[in-house]
């Protein structure tokens, strides 16, 4: 079978990055990556990824076949993490959900774009029909802009859905990409 990873990408500032699937040996590096993020960046996670147990569960989820995660590695350090999550049955089986976190020094250099692009390929390989990504308006506007360039469209906004550390409410923007568009769109 053709080996698809590692994948080498070069960012707009010339930094070289390797994308590869997460494995158990990445646990400490991933914990360290999340511990180095600002509290604002971590705030909107459902769980606290600074906890090794949380990362361990994410890795086990991948091993069970309900998720696929990749890390971006620069000089041996994890600098970004992205996951594709899906359900094994039911009415949303055709749907994948994306979660991407890029460390501050590597933002605005298209690393997130490369990771979303890579996971979109994976989703298509898995036969998924739609991809969903949720963003907090006002915090993740650059990411919203970036995924729009990757053919995600603004599906809907849930008003005042999330609350920041100071108790202020923010809208949640749901973005969707159809993976099997009509050929006519070109």
């Amino acid at each position: 079978m053709y080996q698809r990873y590692p994948k080498e990408v070069v960012l707009t500032d010339g930094k070289e990055i390797v994308l590869r699937p997460v494995d158990r040996a990445d646990l400490e590096k991933l914990v360290s990556f999340y511990r180095n993020l600002s509290p604002e960046d971590r705030w909107f996670f459902k769980e606290d990824p600074r906890e090794p147990e949380v990362i361990r569960q994410w890795i086990e989820n991948q091993e069970r076949g309900n998720a696929f995660s990749i890390v971006a590695v620069h000089e041996e350090e994890v600098v970004a993490h992205a996951s594709l999550l899906w359900r094994s049955g039911g009415g949303r089986k055709h749907m994948g959900k994306l979660r991407v976190m890029v460390g501050e020094p590597f933002r605005r250099k298209r690393l997130g774009t490369w990771m979303v692009f890579d996971l979109t390929k994976r989703a298509m390989d898995l036969g998924l029909r739609k991809l969903r990504a949720d963003f907090v308006v006002g915090f993740e506007d650059l990411a919203i802009e970036a995924v729009q360039k990757l053919h995600f469209t603004k599906e809907c906004v849930i008003r005042d859905y999330v609350r920041d550390q100071n108790g202020r409410y923010h809208d949640c923007q749901i973005m969707i990409r159809d993976l099997h568009e009509q050929w006519g769109d070109f």
Partner: protein, 226 residues
């Protein structure tokens, strides 16, 4: 085999290589490094477009003749005994506007087409065409690349999904030493199933490999580095 081809093609070509196959009782000959004169004498099956969403890359014989007249080009054809072209492959330098020329003068060549006529598909012809296409005397001194744009794929004709077609191409070109490389080339980035693969010749220097990397990501700021 050789005798038939000598009859079929009387003009000798020192680079030319040839193979003969019998496919379900029908003979087909595959020959590389065809000259424009040789191609002129063959007939071209122009009934390739069968499905509304598919337009063949090679739509007439002139494309093959023009390619064969280019420097170092290899036009490899699959030819039926009645001199009909039933499959074709083209290896040539990219057009002047392509970014790949920035790697260096005549360092990069493109596999710009590998196509087989409808009735001859799914018989392994493309694998043989590609093999002879790659059997090039400059193979180790050049970077060969291919781009796969899903809107050129005959997915309806094959009855498979774009990702399955992509995987088929990966297997086909992977067998000839090609690897997937990431690139921000806008057309490749248009769709996730699009594909860029390359084979870097064994005698390509480290400096050229680096330039190839920068060019793939459109980073011309690094191109003057030693």
């Amino acid at each position: 085999m050789g005798r038939f081809l000598t009859t079929l093609m009387e003009i000798p070509n020192r680079n030319s290589n040839e193979q003969a196959f019998s496919v379900e009782g029908e003979k087909v000959f595959i020959r590389s490094f065809l000259s424009p004169d040789e191609i002129v004498r063959l007939s071209f099956n122009e009934s390739m477009p069968k499905y509304a969403r598919y337009r063949p890359l090679i739509q007439d014989k002139n494309i093959l003749i023009k390619a064969a007249s280019g420097p170092d080009a290899n036009v490899t054809l699959a030819i039926a005994p009645d001199r009909r072209i039933v499959g074709a492959g083209i290896l040539q330098y990219p057009s002047p506007e392509e970014r790949w020329n920035e790697v260096g003068d005549r360092l990069v060549m493109e596999v710009s087409a590998v196509e087989v006529s409808g009735p001859w598909r799914s018989r392994g012809l493309s694998r043989h065409i590609l093999r002879l296409l790659m059997d090039h005397p400059l193979k180790e001194e050049r970077i060969f690349y291919m781009v796969g744009f899903s809107w050129t794929w005959d997915i309806d004709g094959k009855g498979i999904t774009a990702m399955e077609y992509r995987n088929m191409l990966i297997k086909l070109f992977g067998g000839e030493g090609f690897r997937i490389y990431q690139t921000n080339e806008p057309n490749v980035m248009l769709r996730p199933e699009n594909l860029f693969m390359a084979r870097i010749g064994g005698r390509i220097s480290e400096a050229v490999r680096r330039r190839f990397k920068w060019v793939r990501f459109g980073l011309d700021m690094h191109l003057d580095e030693p």
